[in-house]
């Protein structure tokens, strides 16, 4: 696993009182990768709900509740696995826009991508990603990396987004 250091946003909490599990969002344009991630997470015993997006635009529409596709729900927790090179809007831009939003910025973001360009690593952390993981090409290593992400997602507390205004009508 190529993770450098844990970023802000992931806090270890007691596993004794898990609130309803965070939804894992996977932004990944490569179907194969997406399938492998799902498979490996399942193998690691992660049963959280998983939602996959094929590009940055689809993800932003969901997070910022725009467009005709599915939108995120208030009061829920999310954890994002973000690829960098994606059509339409790339991962770095997604990260920038997420961090510009008062609520969405709370979502922990694990960048999971094939690139190991140090400039990209720097930029993502500067923008506020929680963790940057380079996808190992080696199958066993990839499995191991995703298994650990799965374990992490089980013990990490993810903040509820718009948790305190669930009673208020949703803004259009």
């Amino acid at each position: 696993m190529n993770a450098t250091m844990p970023g802000p946003g992931l806090r270890a909490v007691s596993a004794a009182a898990p609130s309803d599990p965070a939804t894992i969002l996977i932004a990944e344009d490569d179907d194969g990768h997406a399938a492998l991630i799902r498979l490996h997470l399942q193998e690691a015993g992660v049963d959280n709900p998983i939602v996959r997006f094929v590009d940055g635009q689809e993800l932003l529409d969901f997070l910022l509740r725009r467009g005709s596709g599915p939108h995120r729900q208030s009061g829920r927790s999310y954890l994002l696995l973000l690829d960098i090179r994606m059509p339409k809007v790339d991962g770095v831009e997604v990260l920038r826009r997420m961090k510009a939003d008062r609520e969405v910025r709370k979502i922990p973001v694990i960048v999971l991508t094939t690139t190991d360009d140090p400039r990209v690593v720097d930029e993502c952390y500067a923008l506020g990603c929680s963790l940057f993981i380079t996808k190992p090409v080696d199958a066993e290593e990839l499995f191991e990396a995703i298994r650990r992400i799965g374990l992490l997602s089980r013990i990490a507390a993810a903040p509820r987004i718009d948790g305190f205004d669930t009673q208020r009508p949703e803004k259009p």
């Binding site: 490569d30 194969g32 990768h33 492998l36 498979l39 960098i84 090179r85 991508t113 094939t114 690139t115 190991d116 360009d117 140090p118 990209v120 996808k135 190992p136 090409v137 080696d138 199958a139 066993e140 990839l142 499995f143």
Partner: protein
Amino acid sequence: MRERTGDPTASSAIRRLNRLLLLLFAGWSALVVGLWLLHEVRPDHSPGGKDGRTDPGENPAYPGPDMMDLGYALLWAVGAAGLWLGGRQLRGGVQERSAAVEAARRNEQAVRQSRAMLQLVMDTIPARVFWKDRNSVYLGCNLLFARDAGLRTPEEIIGRTDLELGWREQAELYRADDRLVMESGIPKLRYEEPQTTPSGGRIYLRTSKVPLCDENGRVIGIMGTYEDITERKLAREGLERERTFLRQVIDTAPGFICVKDAEGRFVLANRALAEAYGTTVSDLLGKTDADFNGNPEEVAKFRREDREVMETRSPKHIAEERITYADGQTHWITTTKVPLVDPDGTCTRLLAVCTDITERKRTEEALEKTEALLTAAIQQSPSGILIADAPDVTIRVANPAALGIRGRTTAPLTGIDYREHSRNWKVLRPDGSPYPSEELPLSRAVLEGAVSENVEAIIVNEDGQKRWVSVNAGPIRNREGRVTAGIVIFSDVTDRKRVEAEREELLKQLETKNQELESLFHAASHDMRSPLVNIQGFVRELEEDCATLAVCLAAADMPADRRKTCDSILNDGIPTAVRFIRTSGEKMSSLINGMLRVARSGRASLRLESLEMSRLLEAVVASLGFQIREAAARVEVDPLPDCRGDADQINQVFTNLLDNAMKYRDPTRPLQIRVTGRAEGCRVVYCVEDNGRGIAPEHQSGVWELFHRLNPREDAEGEGVGLTLVRRIVERHNGEVWLESEPGKGSRFFVALPAAE
């Protein structure tokens, strides 16, 4: 002058007495007058020449008192009267020697008269008179002498000696003279001597002493006379001093000073001239230039000038002329000749004053030479040069190069002041805006004393063509530091500017290309890795599925030949395919990683510092400890000179070289690696030497290339970028790499880097 009268045949006592007295009177008179004449009256005793012994020419205007003339007249009168009377008595005595009584009476009367007369003469004569006996005891003196001696009457002197008088100090001197005169019988005349006055003062005398002889010619005493010449002596001394002073002045003067007469003879000359002519001042007098100057032309010229000055009676200044010295050397002098006009209006002499200006002349010649050199330099300079005068920045000089850069025009380019500069010298700033006249480097140099260095500007010529120039300007100051002019030097850098611009453009393009290439690398690495992730990931799934399938098949009921086929697929066909797919994936991944590393090595910035290479190699060897043990290699590191480089990158260079040596070792012998280094001028050269397989000559240049492998089949591990990285890094350090190798023996890899400072 000695008296020689007397008649030894006389017999009577009275007659003898009478005759003696008569003789005495006559003798005295003659003696005194004669002595006086001797003493005082000289051939030149004209009203203007009392000081007869000095050269008449030297003091032509001595103002003597007329009182002296009265004194002479009186003397003559009294002397003549005495002689006449004496003569008459003598004659009378001889003619009437028989009438004894009458004669005695008359003689007595005559004696009385003569005594009175003698006394009168003595006291009136304007000189001191005294007489002494053989022992220098005073027998008598006149009134003036008595007073000089501090006595009231002449009688008081009788019986005294000089030792008892006011001039005791000089007594021995006087007495010595007395003795000399008396012993030799020769008078000592007109000599100067000092005398102490009764009041203790010091005066100067001119004394004459004559011996007194009796009728037998025996010296019986001495008679002397003197006069006080103190005043005259002092005046003479004063004159002497003045003359000496004037002499000193003209001799000290550095130039030549001389007076010439109508014939060109030197009447006066100073030492400088005498020395130049190789002679003495006194030798020069009375001679002419021709006697000393070997150059007839010069002599003739001097003579012409002299004549002209005396004829026109107006001064003449000759700014420069040559004069040949006695040593044959030619000097330059500046001369002023002034006529000396006599009171009667005639002019027979001239004064010439000359200054040696040879040095100045040489300086001037040197200056002229310098100026000629500078002019040539300015004219020949390939850079444009303008020189402008203060205060209006009036362009005085524009050299051909300046005019060439400016281009052909009918507008005046010199003689114009700064208000017109911008009209005729159109100059733009690099941004294309026009230069105000007063801000041009040349104007600023003259007006503000400002120095400009390598200022870039554009000069526009008549056709609107723009020439880029690099401009240097500065003030020219005089000795007081005031700016008197300014100079601007500008060279046409248009071509250089164009080349620079082109190079800059190329560099920019290159940079863009590099960035594009790098982005391409990264994009490619990402995009190439993505499929690899799938290939590897799904191969793994495939294997797991195959394992599950094998379990299911084992439990399934099927014919033996089909089971055999299935087993073959599951145990042989699929695993073989999976292994190839996986290996190829790994290889692909490795190539991508190598490509990325090379791409990135060109991007990292270098932190240059002095590197202690012995220590750096120690670290490299330590970090490769595992591989070295695996390869059973012996690594020797000699003491190494230090170099200048980036620690991380140079570490990478030697890590790769050692790694390479171990990778290509010869399995038939134990690997030996030796690292050496030597300083070579301003760089250091390191060598990593091994006894490995070596590289064939045809492969030697290829080893530095990306993904080059000596033996692709055997060298599966590694990315194939090690040496490429080595070369890239060393070249970024302005270094150099090369190798020497012999197949089967080993290789030497050389790395040259800048030496540590």
